[in-house]
């Protein structure tokens, strides 16, 4: 038999109890025409063999750990406290299921309640859900919520400085909803100009989406853009791809946005080649019943003790079915727990320190790049940035490849995102990058660009 299964004797005794002489009898209801023979797969492997296969797979990759790495564009390498993974590996957390039986799930439920609170604190909003898959789908859910709240308006205005992947996913989801997406391109400062935005956001627009810091790393004029949306009666949506930015940047909640949503991976969640990450979604109390995803609420038990339960479940697919606010069921609960642990460890001081250090490191690089000459220059020298900026270069792929030979992952080439973007590369910095890393990058750019 196998170490994950019961044994021969278990099987023999159970077959006797159910009155079958073989397991095959239990599959009588499966017709011959759909049966398969032996699966075309290798035989069972021991742990040691599985390890070897995965070491070999891992060995064929270049782990950023072994390099000076400045990769961003939606995924950021920040603090990874040792304690976080130790707690996440407790089987009580990661082998539990969705807390449908609250009396034996208070651990999960309370942790999610804390997560919801942290997200409200970071975003300045009143209510947050228990997580979504990622930043891209979070933005989609925000737009779809806006469409439900303002159903007679078929248009969505999106800043051209929105992450191209977020935009691509929005296109996929909006196609069957007969929603038209209008793009307002970024101006020469790398931001969306409020006057241009206002021309696009008419009274046939249900949602206006702005990402800040945006895909180019530039901090948008959030208050001005919110005002445009509100005066047109559209829902204002603030998308965030680098959640640690909320440590020093004022969030949409402060400026009257209806939704602040996006990606919280930056709070200690591994890059893991793109997933699982952590979508977050926060909104106003008034929109509470249109919120997608799970919600944990506080209550009491029959003895008056405080406890937590999933609540307002009638919004969700298992009850509302075709009329649900979202089709989401399984979300990213363990990642929400991970972020909750990291945010607890960072706390008031740490959230700010991480943001200040990331910003300072990026500013140091920016000033260094600024002095390198015409072949390598900042795309938006005047635009305020948090921890990421766009550097223009004619052959970003070639330059990055040469830097990789020196064990420097200098940034993300814009060529990854299609032909429409100016040729260059995005450089992101976090508290993870040492001064030595930074000086090596600047030196390499000087020599190799």
């Amino acid at each position: 038999m196998h170490r994950y299964l019961a044994g021969e004797d278990d099987r023999r005794r159970m077959l006797a109890a159910v009155g079958c002489s073989s397991v095959e009898e239990l599959f009588k209801s499966v017709p011959a025409e759909v049966r398969c023979g032996e699966l075309a797969l290798p035989p069972a492997r021991s742990e040691e063999e599985v390890r070897r296969e995965f070491w070999a797979l891992a060995g064929r990759n270049i782990a950023p750990e072994c390099t000076a790495s400045f990769l961003g564009a939606g995924v950021y390498r920040h603090v990874t406290p040792a304690v976080a993974d130790a707690l996440l590996q407790r089987g009580e957390f990661f082998t539990a299921y969705t807390p449908y039986q609250p009396e034996v799930s208070q651990g999960t439920l309370q942790a999610i309640f804390e997560f919801q609170t942290f997200i409200c604190q970071l975003t300045g909003m009143e209510v947050a859900n228990a997580s979504l898959y990622d930043g891209a789908t979070a933005v989609v859910e925000a737009v779809l919520m806006a469409h439900r709240l303002v159903p007679n308006r078929p248009k969505v205005v999106v800043a051209g400085s929105l992450h191209p992947d977020y935009r691509a996913v929005l296109d996929t989801y909006c196609a069957p909803q007969s929603l038209t997406i209008i793009t307002v391109p970024a101006d020469p400062m790398g931001r969306v100009d409020a006057a241009t935005f206002a021309k696009a956001v008419g009274n046939d627009v249900c949602a206006a989406v702005v990402q800040s810091p945006n895909f180019f790393g530039v901090v948008e004029d959030l208050p001005a853009l919110a005002a445009v949306a509100k005066s047109a009666g559209a829902l204002a949506i603030h998308a965030v791809a680098e959640a640690t930015s909320l440590g020093i940047l004022a969030p949409g909640g402060v400026f009257g946005y209806d939704v602040v949503c996006g990606e919280a991976q930056a709070f200690g969640i591994p890059a893991a080649f793109g997933g699982p990450h952590l979508g977050f979604f926060a909104t106003r109390q008034a929109h509470m019943r249109q919120l997608p995803g799970r919600l944990v609420g506080e209550t009491v038990d029959s003895e008056g003790k405080r406890g937590y339960v999933l609540t307002l479940s009638t919004r969700e697919q298992h009850i509302r079915r075709a009329k649900a606010t979202s089709n989401i069921c399984t979300n990213h609960g363990l990642m929400a727990l991970a972020a909750t642990i990291v945010l607890s460890l960072l706390g008031k001081k740490g959230v700010r320190d991480v943001a200040l250090a990331s910003h300072a490191t990026a500013e140091y690089l920016k000033s260094g790049v600024g002095g390198l000459g015409p072949g390598v220059r900042l795309a938006f020298p005047g635009g305020p940035t948090y921890n990421e900026f766009l550097v223009l270069h004619d052959d970003p792929d070639g330059l990055l490849a040469r830097m990789k030979e020196e064990l420097i992952l200098g940034g993300v080439s814009t060529t990854r995102f299609g032909a429409g973007l100016t040729r260059g590369f995005l450089v992101a910095a976090t508290e993870h990058n040492t001064r030595q890393d930074c000086d090596r990058l600047l030196d390499a750019l000087r020599r190799l660009a």
């Binding site: 032996e38 651990g107 999960t108 040492t434």
Partner: protein, 493 residues
């Protein structure tokens, strides 16, 4: 009976542990010049320290989350017979390999030559899932089953549009999981519910009638169905749909019942999502993350989301050269961390182990069915595969409902079965033991259920007042919904 309230502190919220000046983490010293953001960013775009964030030490955090964890029941603790969820053992070798730096730290936008191992892993998983399902190709992008449903329905929609057709209707049986109609609507379809037969299976005559309208895009079906019974006419249903130019979407939530025994590809499925967090052991995590790859037939291959991993010789690439693709359904390529775990599991079990897994799942469910028949009512008596749906009608005479039985089961140290699903069984108790447990655990579960049935007869109030031994007693869900409190707030001074 377990007493979970002993030796347990009453743990408050992390915010309630906060004490000024405590720190939980220290950054390395800043080596670059510090920057005052007020000098680099316009003042109105800045914020100060977030006062409400807690100040706790590392020890506080460890105590807090360790205590919280002890309030959870989990698969590691015991049988977790939640029907439709497949709560099987989550192997630790999967956790080890996924944490290798060469996998965990990879940035998705690193150039392909730097991530050949990751692409190879995704390729290997796709090949394995093709072997397991008998379908043509598999997208690994969707983050969950429902996400996969949406992707599959979008592919069907695009395929029809390609033919110049815009069929609006998707047929869904009344026994379906709620995500099915929700996903169909999100994909732009109208849902028409089809009543099940008295045996709880697909009503082919009703489906045939509905197909005559010419506006049916697809039928969404779960195999075996949500009663745990194999759909006897699935092949015929697929043929009927295909003859009319419609598609068969298969919800793969119950795949654990027939891996290595049958192939959805032979059943005529056009798109099938696979819940890696169910059949392939990736951990449920208290509510995800999961992964919902979608296997498709040749007809839908052109519409798969981009990018797909392609192999040329020994080289792997991420190809977005798919002009008919539905596009992207999420950022990057998939929940890679879960994909890696699933591949490790498939390797650990291997071709024989996977079949033994399905056999074990079906045998365990039938053993429980045998043990409880007579004690609990069975509305649909067809042959069970990996799950069995009892209901509370024998106990209802004493006023004891499935909810009460579930809460009393907590006192016996077990997680209850799924309740009130499928909708076609009133007072449902859907039991799916999976293959993980041996006869002892199943016997203990059966004994507990029998004891509760006896209590329902002899002392119904005891059952109705349960649970007694859990960290909290029955919680007031009405209050939580009427007066929603969805976050902690600092008390105003």
């Amino acid at each position: 009976m377990s007493d979970k309230t002993s030796l347990r502190q009453r743990e408050g919220l992390i915010f309630e542990r906060s004490s000024p000046g405590r720190v939980g983490y220290q950054l390395p010293p800043l080596e670059v010049p510090p920057v005052d953001p007020a000098k680099t960013i316009p003042a109105e775009l800045l914020r100060g320290e977030i006062q409400e964030l807690p100040e706790v030490s590392e020890v506080d955090v460890v105590r807090h989350f360790t205590r919280l964890s002890k309030w959870n029941y989990s698969v590691d603790e015991g049988l977790y017979p939640l029907g439709s969820c497949t709560m099987k053992y989550n192997p630790r070798i999967n956790e080890e390999v996924v944490r290798l730096a060469g996998l965990a730290q990879l940035h998705p936008l690193q150039p392909e030559d730097q991530v050949q191992g990751a692409l190879a892993l995704m390729w290997e998983l796709e090949q394995a899932l093709i072997a397991i399902t008998g379908m043509a190709r598999v997208t690994l992008q969707p983050a969950a089953g429902a996400h996969g449903e949406l992707a599959g329905m979008l592919m069907i929609r695009k395929s029809l549009a390609d033919r110049g057709e815009h069929r609006r209707v998707v047929l869904i049986p009344d026994s379906a999981h709620g995500t099915n109609p929700a996903s169909a609507v999100f994909a732009g379809f109208d849902v028409v519910e089809v009543a099940s037969t008295p045996e709880g299976t697909l009503d082919l005559a009703a489906i045939a009638r509905r197909l005559e309208g010419g506006d049916v895009a697809a039928l969404m079906v779960t195999v075996p169905n949500t009663l745990g019974v194999f759909e006897p006419e699935i092949v015929k249903a697929a043929k009927m749909l295909h003859e009319r130019g419609a598609f068969l979407y298969m919800d793969g939530a119950n795949l654990n019942a027939f891996v290595g025994i049958a192939l959805p590809g032979k059943m005529g499925a056009d798109a099938l999502h696979i819940n890696l967090h169910k059949t392939f052991s990736t951990p449920h995590g208290g509510g995800g993350p999961g992964a919902g790859p979608v296997a498709v037939s040749e007809a839908l291959v052109p519409y798969l989301p981009v990018p797909m991993v392609e192999k040329t010789g020994n080289l792997f690439t991420l190809s977005s050269d798919r002009p008919k693709s539905i596009g992207k359904v999420r950022g990057f390529y998939g929940n890679f961390g879960m994909l890696a775990r699933a591949l490790a599991y498939i390797r650990s079990l291997g071709r024989d182990g996977l079949r033994l897994m399905a056999e074990g799942a079906v045998l365990n469910a039938n053993y429980i069915r045998k043990g409880l028949e007579g004690e609990y009512h069975l509305q649909y008596t067809g042959p069970s595969l990996h799950e069995v749906v009892f209901d509370d009608s024998l106990q209802a005479a004493a006023g004891v409902k499935n909810v009460d039985i579930a809460k009393r089961l907590l006192d016996y140290g077990f997680h209850p079965p799924t309740m009130s699903f499928p909708l076609i069984v009133h007072g449902a108790l859907m039991i799916e033991p999976t293959e993980s447990d041996g006869i002892d655990e199943l016997d203990a579960f059966i004994a507990a259920m029998k004891a509760i049935a006896r209590e329902a007869r002899e002392n119904p109030d005891l059952v109705k007042g349960a649970p007694y031994g859990t960290p909290v007693r029955r919680l007031d869900e009405v209050r939580a919904a009427r007066q929603p409190v969805l976050r902690w707030q600092a008390r105003k001074a």
